[in-house]
């Protein structure tokens, strides 16, 4: 069962051509570290988001490899130079092969 929940993405307002846009992205996911025990003392199996990528106009512009030390509901802030009006495609993949995607249009004046 997919443990991915809601996706939340924000871009800085009024992007200018040739200048970096701030991107904030979060997805709901337990990021179960594999080090916790349940209430009868059995280890809870690891279940984490292992990769997060952002593609801009079809080209990867941000790639992150996550380890169990990333907090629940992984959140990232990063920058991309606004070169053209194009789609930003966000992709989260967890260590069980489940995928969450989200699409945001970046309009450059």
């Amino acid at each position: 069962m997919s443990r991915f929940g809601k996706v939340w993405v924000r871009l800085s307002e009024n992007p200018k051509r040739g200048e970096p846009v701030e991107i904030r992205a979060m997805v709901v996911h337990p990021m179960e570290s594999g080090f916790r025990l349940d209430n009868v003392g059995h280890p809870i199996p690891r279940h984490i988001v292992s990769t997060f990528t952002c593609a801009y106009g079809g080209k990867d512009v941000f790639r992150a490899k996550l380890h169990p030390a990333i907090s629940t509901n992984p959140y990232f802030v990063f920058y991309v130079v606004a070169t053209q009006s194009a789609d930003l495609l966000f992709t989260w993949t967890d260590d069980r092969g489940e995928v969450a995607t989200h699409n945001v249009r970046l309009e450059v004046a």
Binding site: S33, Y56, A64, H67, V80
Partner: protein, 154 residues
């Protein structure tokens, strides 16, 4: 006074909380890592290339109340041009059960070499960031973080 019980002192509450936190650590905390493991992870990732202090800034609270959510921002001094840019940023926590925290790939299309996220820290420890530049040089910085309530589940 009929009531002979001593007044509740805040110290008692604090002591109880400390005991609870200690029990939590005893029960659920796996063995923490050591600085040697970070050294091993660095060697595994970067080989024997020299790593120089500087050019990278790590913003992280000196005192983190909740080890489960510690905000961290990494900024690298770089023009982020086609000739001179940041290739990757790596984050390590020396006393977490797994020292690797995050690996990020960047390029000139990012414009600014700045990444922020939220991490887990099991105990008070040193957090280290390393960056790889387009010319192949490696730069590093580290910050000490005091953790009040450890991420029992880093």
């Amino acid at each position: 006074m009929a009531n002979g019980a001593p007044p509740l002192r805040p110290g008692r509450r604090r002591a109880l909380r400390a005991i609870a936190a200690g029990a939590c650590l005893l029960v659920a905390r796996p063995s923490t890592g050591t600085p040697d493991e970070v050294a091993a992870a660095l060697r595994e990732t970067f080989g024997d290339r020299p790593i120089t202090p500087g050019r990278i800034k790590l913003e992280i609270p000196r005192l983190a109340e909740n080890g489960n959510i510690v905000p961290v921002t990494i900024t690298v001094e770089s023009p982020m041009s086609e000739q001179d840019y940041v290739k990757s940023i790596h984050l390590f926590a020396e006393r977490n059960p797994l020292p690797r925290v995050l690996d990020v790939e960047l390029g000139p299309h990012n414009g600014r070499a700045r990444v922020a996220t939220r991490i887990r820290l099991a105990v008070s420890q040193q957090v280290r960031a390393v960056t790889v530049m387009s010319d192949g040089t490696l730069w590093t910085t580290a910050a000490d973080v005091e953790v009040t309530v450890g991420g029992c589940d880093p």
